[in-house]
Amino acid sequence: MADERKPTSLEDLDARVTAARAAHKQQSGDGNTVPGGKPPMTGFGLAMRIGTELVAAVAVGVGMGYVLDLWLGTKPWLMVAFFFLGSAAGMLNVYRATSYLGRRDGSDGS
C-alpha cells in the first residue's frame, strides 16, 4: 500500500517544491525581504551588541592614540585626541546599529 502511494506523493511534493521555489525567487527578486531566516534577535542580544560597540570604539581609539604617542613621542596629546575621536566613532557605530535595526523592523513589520 505504501509502495503504491509513494510515487504520487513524491511527484506532488516535487511540483509543490518547484512552485514554492518560483514564488520565493519572485519575492526575493523585487524586494530585499526574504521570509524564513527570521533573526532570533532578542532585546538582550541587541543590548549586548550596542554596549560592546561603544566600549570597543573607545578602547580602539585610546589604544591607537597610545601607540602613536609612543611612536611620535608626543605623550599624552594624541591619546587625548583619539579618545574623543574613538568616543565619536562609538556613537556613530551605535547610531548605525540601531538605525539599521529600526529600518529592518519597519519594513518587516515585526
Binding site: T33, T52, E53, A88
Partner: protein, 242 residues
Amino acid sequence: MASPIEQFKIERLIPLKLGSVDISYTNSALWMTIAVVVVTLFLVLGTRQRALVPGRWQSMAEMSYEFVANLLQEQAGNAGRVFFPFVFTLFMFILAGNLLGLIPYAFTFTSHIVVTFGMAIVVFIGVTVIGFIKHGVHFLSFFVPKGVPAAMLILIIPIEILSYLTRPVSLAIRLFANMMAGHTMLKVFSGFVVALGVLGGWMPLAVNVALTGFEVLVAFLQAYVFAILTCIYLNDALHMEH
C-alpha cells in the same frame, strides 16, 4: 572549592615547540578538533542518505544550511553567495564550540579572546581585501560619507576610519564576553549550591537550570550575531553603501 575562572585555564596536553614558539596541543585545541569532527559528522552523515523526503537528522543538517544561506542572501544579496562556504564554516564552528562548551567538564574555546579575535581579524582582513579587489582605490571613498561639507571632512574621516577599525574588536569582544560571563555565572551559582547544602541549595540549583537554558540561547544567538555581522561587512565591501 574550585575557583569560577579555573574552567578557562589552558593546559598543555602534548607539549610541542617549534623553535622558540610554543605550539603545544592544548585542551583548547582538543575541543576545536572535537568541534570540527562533530560538525563534519553532523553534516556528512546527516546528508548521506540524500532522501528526497528528509528524516530528522537530514532535516536538521538542511535547516542549518538554509538558515545561513538565507542570512547571506538577505544581507549581501546574490553577489555574496560566493562566500557561503566561509560564513557557513564560521557559523557552524562557533555554534559547535558554544554548545560543546555547555557539556560538563568541557572546555569552551570561544571564551578565549585570542580565539574570537583570531576569527574576527580573518573576517576583517578578508573583507578589506575583497573591498579593494572589487573597487580598487575607490574603496577608500568608503571613509568619506556623501554630502558632508569639506570643512567637516578633516574630523569625519578619522572618525570613520576608527569606526571601521573597531569592527574586529567589537566582533571579538562580544562573543568572548558573552561566553565567559555565562560560564562564570554558571560556576558561581553551582558554588552556592555546594555552600548552602541540602537545605538552601535548591534555590541556586533552580537558577542554574534556568541559566543553562539561557546559555543554550546565548550559544545560538552569538553564533548568529557573528555570522550576520560577517554578512553585513561583506555587503559593505561588495556594494559600498552605509
